[in-house]
Subunit: 146 residues, 2 copies
DNA sequence: TTTATAATCAACTGATCTGTTGATTGTCAA
DNA sequence: TTGACAATCAACAGATCAGTTGATTATAAA
């Protein structure tokens, strides 16, 4: 990655012309990525284009719910939809993902001890889960509270 | 970045032992990053450690609100707090950020045309904003609806 | 034409988010 | 001891989120 430095510089000047739009793009991209269903959909789309119903098949929630997840991805610019007739083909757009990577990678200089840091994060989560493990989830597939 | 490939492989096996914890770590990390106030706090912490009140100073919202933003960052593992007496010093922990980078960078192979993709995303946001621009924001610093 | 299918829209519910104000805790200083 | 200060807690309000079910739109097929 010898072009990273130049790349980031170019992006930064590009953003300076529309800083609000870029902020909003990051807001939406990170938010879209914060849900495991949406991340799974994106992983799937990494392999190619799929119909909404095909994307929905592996999940235990309604097609409508998946349709709205996809809408979140579309509004974040991560997914494009092409409707031909009654079917809608979804495909990936990694533009916002690249923007997210640029933002996050500003901290890459701290990643000498990435293993320790990640292990510590996981250990902390395990300890949390052990300390007060929920007896039962309130709703299936519901997002964990903490 | 000649070690990237080996790095990612190591992390993946590490995660396989606690997949749920890793999922939850990503959920929280991406969600924490989806708010511009929290991203600004993280940028600041990249320069060193700060008190809660110091982090709150640049913002127009209450100290309590900032305190809760920091709690979100702490629960995501991105920030550590050390309380000595009545003051609380906040510092950065890039572990979850590294995990987020690893996830996002699985799409780096698509980034040959990153410039076009990002520009398209920004152009789309601009077009949206022009089409139905809100006459006035409902609340100061409130998150944009779309 | 009638029927089945893909996908979205609409309305509703319960949970979560983000901000507010007021009270509280705990420490430092006059 | 008393008062100021850093930070959090607690309770509330308004908005958003994520799921549901039922209706609707539009195309494909019998």
């Amino acid at each position: 990655m010898t072009t990273t430095s130049a790349t980031i510089r170019f992006i930064d000047t590009e953003l300076a012309s529309a800083p609000d739009a870029h902020e909003e793009l990051l807001n939406r991209a990170f938010f879209a990525l914060s849900d495991p269903v949406r991340r799974t959909i994106l992983e799937r789309l990494g392999e190619g284009a799929f119909l909404v119903s095909e994307l929905a098949a592996p999940f235990d929630i309604s097609l409508q719910a998946i349709s709205r997840h996809i809408q979140v991805l579309v509004r974040a610019g991560l997914v494009q939809q092409a409707r031909t007739g009654r079917i809608s083909t979804c495909s990936l757009d990694v533009g916002p993902m690249f923007a997210a990577s640029v933002w996050v990678n500003r901290y890459s200089k701290y990643w000498q001890n990435q293993f320790d840091a990640l292990a510590a994060g996981l250990a902390r989560l395990d300890k949390e889960a052990t300390r007060h493990r929920p007896t039962q989830r309130k709703k299936a597939n519901r997002k964990e509270r903490r």
